[in-house]
Amino acid sequence: MSSGFSNLDKQVSIAELAALIPDGASVALGGSFLHRGPFALVRELVRQKKANIEIIKQSPGYDIDLLCRAGVATRARTGIVAMEGNFGLAPYYRKAVETGALRLEEHACATLTAGLRAAAFGTPFQPCAGIDGSHLVDINGWKKLDDPYGKGEAVWVIPAIQPDFAVIHANEVDSRGNVRVLGTSHWDRIMSRAAKRVLIVAERVVDSEIFEQQPEVTLIPYFLVQAYAVVPQGAWPGSCWPEYEIDYAAVEKYLEPGPEALQAHLDAAPEALQEYAQ
């Protein structure tokens, strides 16, 4: 059995993509706040009524809020959670933590990255600078190790964090599943290396020749990618640079209370409106 994904039939529908994620899985989500998140996939997790999902993301917002609102997420490892863009706190996330519906492992963004690095580097833990004096140490039981070479100061080490899945929203894939992201890649690179498998939601498929002309731009090689779905506007109501910006009105409507508002939001999503070419 291969350690990679060499199959040629990676394109699936967004529903099939979500179906690959079982209840109880830990899922790292790409992007940051309202920017280039794999939100079409997140909504599909809600439609498929997934249970007991763990979210791993340095700066989730809309995604984790929605998953808490729908009762899909029950565990999370995060650095900072907010809707951002004047929307302030993520209300359903906040409530889920306050009621105990979501079990939080609170990180600094860089400590979560350190845990992902340990998984990506095949090591049990990863040293991380800073952290001194933070109470995060107490709630997480983090350990400090002396420099065995006696030169540097003692350093905090973070245990490895290996997500079952990393789900990334990309600008472009090719048919094999190579992945391109434009602008900042946020934390997507390290997520794609730390996770056992990578799932992609892409704006479009382009010819492999485009990738071959500038292979330096490719963020994730196809053999790390298990499957991808094509959902134009799939990062809605967030942005996907340079394709589209945040739909602030849609976020506002999402924040209206009640199950009808939630259903209306889900029904207004691009993947619900589109017929998938597949």
């Binding site: 650095g79 400590t111 001194d132």
Partner: protein, 244 residues
């Protein structure tokens, strides 16, 4: 244009005044005012600095000023993408000269609580979390923050939870500017329409105020730069900061 401070211009401008020539300066997520301060400093002052931000931008020339301080327009016309791992590593290895970081509660040493009100395990209010703080505050050469609310529940003797330790170099509120002195926050100046007594009354910890005085009024170049960033006052309205 008024030559007086508004509560909004007071915070943004005095954040900008923490920026120094040539230094590597960072603004992150959920940080509209530091973003505005960095963009403003680029326009207001005759010297330049290295402005990096959470959107991966390095000295960007955004086509507009975004509501979200992590918006990808902050990487428009950047010549490189300096991504999240990169700017954190830069800070961790001691080469971030100045970073801006948010804080919900701040204690007299300049440490921050971004995590919760009440007990962490059963919080009254779950807050966003510290993001960069716990790693950046102790490793950046200087870190500065801002609070739109200056009260004894935001400036406290004892944090509900110490998300980040290391002590801010500078703190700006609608009525005051604190700067670190002997490992404690010391009052540097107060809003000309406020007073030392008001700052004392609205601050939950004791602080040194030797030499503190009313804050110098905004320079014409500062007023002009901020007006150019917020021509119709939308950011000022959204921020909804008041003196009291």
């Amino acid at each position: 244009m008024s030559a007086d401070w508004t509560p909004f211009s007071y915070i943004v401008t005095n954040l900008a005044r923490f920026i120094r020539p040539d230094e590597i300066t960072f603004s992150g997520v959920n940080s509209t005012m530091p973003m505005l301060a960095c963009l403003m400093a680029k326009k207001a002052y005759e010297w330049d600095f290295v402005y990096i931000n959470v959107a991966g931008g390095v000295d960007p020339r955004p086509s507009k000023i975004p509501i979200s301080s992590s918006d990808p327009v902050l990487a428009e016309h950047t010549a490189s993408i300096f991504d999240n791992e990169d700017f954190y590593d830069l800070c961790c290895r001691g080469r971030m000269d100045l970073t801006f970081l948010g804080a919900a509660q701040i204690d007299g040493e300049g440490n921050a609580n971004n995590s919760c009100i009440g007990n962490w395990h059963q919080p009254k209010v779950r807050l966003p979390g510290g993001g960069g703080g716990a790693v950046m505050l102790p490793t950046a050469k200087r870190a500065c923050t801002w609070r739109t609310e200056h009260s004894t529940r935001t400036f406290v003797e004892q944090l509900d939870f110490r998300t980040s330790w290391g002590g801010f170099h500078g703190v700006v509120t609608p009525i005051a500017i604190f700067v670190k002195k002997n490992d404690r926050l010391a009052l540097q100046s107060w809003h000309p329409e406020s007073s030392l007594d008001e700052v004392k009354a609205r601050t939950g910890f004791h602080f040194d105020h030797e030499g503190a005085e009313p804050t110098a009024l905004p320079l014409p170049s500062e007023i002009k730069a901020l007006a150019a960033l917020d021509p119709d006052g939308a950011f000022e309205r959204d921020a909804a900061v008041s003196l009291r």
